[in-house]
């Protein structure tokens, strides 16, 4: 029999996190700090709205772009927060999670050989999605001394005549880093100079703990060259509903919609009805969840300080990214030994790119009591090193 597999796909590296997941699943009693999703339940009023839509028999496809009602709510949400208007008719597209939007965006704009600038450590899908769309990933290694923010110098140094897309993954998974307005202002001229398209993945935007969340689309001249991606998973604790969205100039959105239409048809209808309610009545829920994440973040930073573990202060998402360099182990060794000796699972930084070497990702999407228990074990572990 022939080999039926596409070499493009077989050449993709398996996700580094997968390997770790397999080890952890064999340890049923392990405490995990390895989860990349909220511990909260979707607010009941949102779930209830989904249930109601099912009771009413709203079980058909929606339009390819998604429910008009939801696109209008999204448009007004983005306008309210970032002062940019997107036409719900052809500038907003509802997708199956933010992840689909990333895939669509890259497939819609890349020609073979186009370079995609990907700051790392960052979420695991930008690089494979670029490769699948025949683009060439160009990794920008972010540094702890810059609080894992992207600097103008780093961006400039990575640009070539083939650079086409810049991925902006902030607030960042796994580092928790954010880009403040001053940081965005610094890179905007370079984006213009090299005529780049920005793919800004702001799925954690509502979980910003320093000032108001900001976005590159707020800066003059940026809206036209930006695909803005957000979703419901993190802010409203709706990961399993699989619902995200993209906003951008209609020329780009029309092409993204084409792929979406052929590959997906439309995002889940039940989730879309629930999401309308999330946007209309969910502000208070988001506020209270953010408040609790922030308390846990402060707790962890204080605990690291007390055990003398070095960690820059993150201001976004629900991750901290402490350095384990001083223990003379690789991230993976540290994570593996910590798991075996203390039954606590954390994710090695290398799962998010080579520049994650020397760091581990700790998620604080856990109740404070669980964090306390895990931190206690970490103290025992590092004091024995």
């Amino acid at each position: 029999m022939r080999n039926f597999l596409s070499s493009k796909v077989t050449a993709l590296k398996p996700s580094g996190i997968r390997k770790f997941f397999d080890i952890v699943s064999e340890m049923p009693d392990a405490i995990s700090l390895g989860v990349g999703e909220p511990d909260f339940d979707t607010p009941w009023h949102v779930r209830e709205e989904g249930i109601y839509s099912l009771e009413k028999g709203r079980t058909f496809y929606t339009s390819n772009s998604g429910l008009m009602e939801l696109r209008q709510e999204i448009s007004s949400y983005v306008n309210r927060n970032f002062g940019q208007k997107y036409d719900p008719a052809d500038e907003v597209l509802i997708t199956v999670g933010g992840s689909e939007a990333i895939d669509l965006a890259l497939r819609a704009v890349l020609e073979p050989g186009d370079e995609v600038l990907i700051p790392q450590p960052s979420y695991v899908s930008y690089e494979p999605c670029t490769l699948l769309a025949d683009g060439k990933p160009v990794i920008i290694d972010l540094k702890e001394e810059n609080e894992f923010r992207l600097t103008a110098e780093e961006l400039e140094a990575a640009c070539t005549p083939k650079s086409k897309v810049l991925v902006l993954p902030f607030p960042n998974n796994p580092t928790g880093a954010i880009m403040e307005m001053k940081d965005l202002e610094a890179i905007a001229p370079i984006i213009e100079k090299h005529d780049l398209l920005v793919l800004t993945d702001e799925i954690y935007s509502a979980l910003t703990y320093k000032g108001e969340a900001c976005s590159i689309i707020q800066l003059p001249g940026m809206r036209e060259r930006t695909i803005y991606i957000n979703g419901f998973s993190k802010a409203y604790a709706m990961t399993g509903w699989r619902l995200g969205y993209a906003c951008g100039p209609s020329e780009i959105m029309n092409e993204m919609r084409k792929i979406h239409q052929y590959a997906i048809m439309c995002a889940p209808t039940t989730s879309q009805y629930a999401a309308v309610d999330a946007l209309r009545n969910g502000d208070e829920d988001v506020k209270l969840m953010r408040e609790q994440y922030n308390e846990r973040r402060r707790f962890l930073m204080d605990a690291f300080r007390k055990m003398n573990m070095s960690c820059f202060t993150p201001y976004g998402a629900f991750y901290v990214f402490p350095s384990v360099k001083k223990y003379g182990m690789s991230s993976e060794e540290f994570a593996t030994r910590f798991l075996q000796e203390q039954q606590v699972a954390v994710v090695p930084g290398t799962a998010f790119g080579d520049s994650g070497e020397g760091y581990i990702r700790i998620s604080y999407a856990y109740a404070l009591e669980n964090l306390k228990e895990a931190i206690g074990r970490m103290e025992t572990f590092v004091s024995g090193l």
Binding site: V35, S125, V347
Partner: protein, 164 residues
């Protein structure tokens, strides 16, 4: 302390009044001195009225009976409902008392050792008050959630253990 932080402090205490002030300070990003002063100030202002514990007495050997009693009363000139409310809430077995809108005036919650004890309270004490026109007693059969705490079920983490 800003109003926002003050309210955050209250939300934490409402769920866990036993938390120590050092830890509170860490969670709020404040100093311990500020937290202690703020709590003292809020006690003085009557914002913090007590530090109670949520107990599921069902699980002890000292199980209790609780009831909700809807009371219709005749308000008094110049006093409204306040005097009659005071006469009712002074009974130690009354655990809460609210003036409410709708079909009746006061909602009394009461704890007793037995149904008999509660029946005695209603027939001999509450309904014999001059101002009380009518009482409707509803016994509580099971408490699912009390003070924002679900009593019947433990939280279970159903997420995958490691995800990107």
């Amino acid at each position: 302390m800003t109003m926002d932080v003050r309210e955050e402090l209250l939300r934490i205490l409402e769920k866990n009044s036993r938390i120590d002030t050092g830890e509170l300070a860490v969670l709020l990003g404040a100093t311990e001195v500020d937290v202690v002063n703020e709590m003292a100030q809020m006690e003085k202002e009557g914002i913090i009225c007590g530090y109670a514990t949520v107990i599921d007495w069902e699980k002890t050997s000292n199980a209790r009976v609780s009831a909700l009693i809807e009371v219709r009363v005749t308000p008094q000139r110049g006093k409204g409902f306040d005097d009659i409310a005071e006469r009712i809430y002074k009974y130690p077995e009354v655990t809460s008392l609210y003036l409410i809108s709708g079909g009746c005036d006061l909602m009394v919650t009461i704890d007793g050792r037995s149904m008999k004890e509660i029946a005695y309270f209603v027939s001999d004490k509450l309904s014999t008050l001059d101002e009380v026109v009518n009482c409707t007693t509803q016994f509580i059969l099971k408490k699912y959630k009390d003070h924002g705490t679900v009593l019947t079920r433990k939280y279970e983490d159903k997420r995958e253990k490691v995800t990107p």
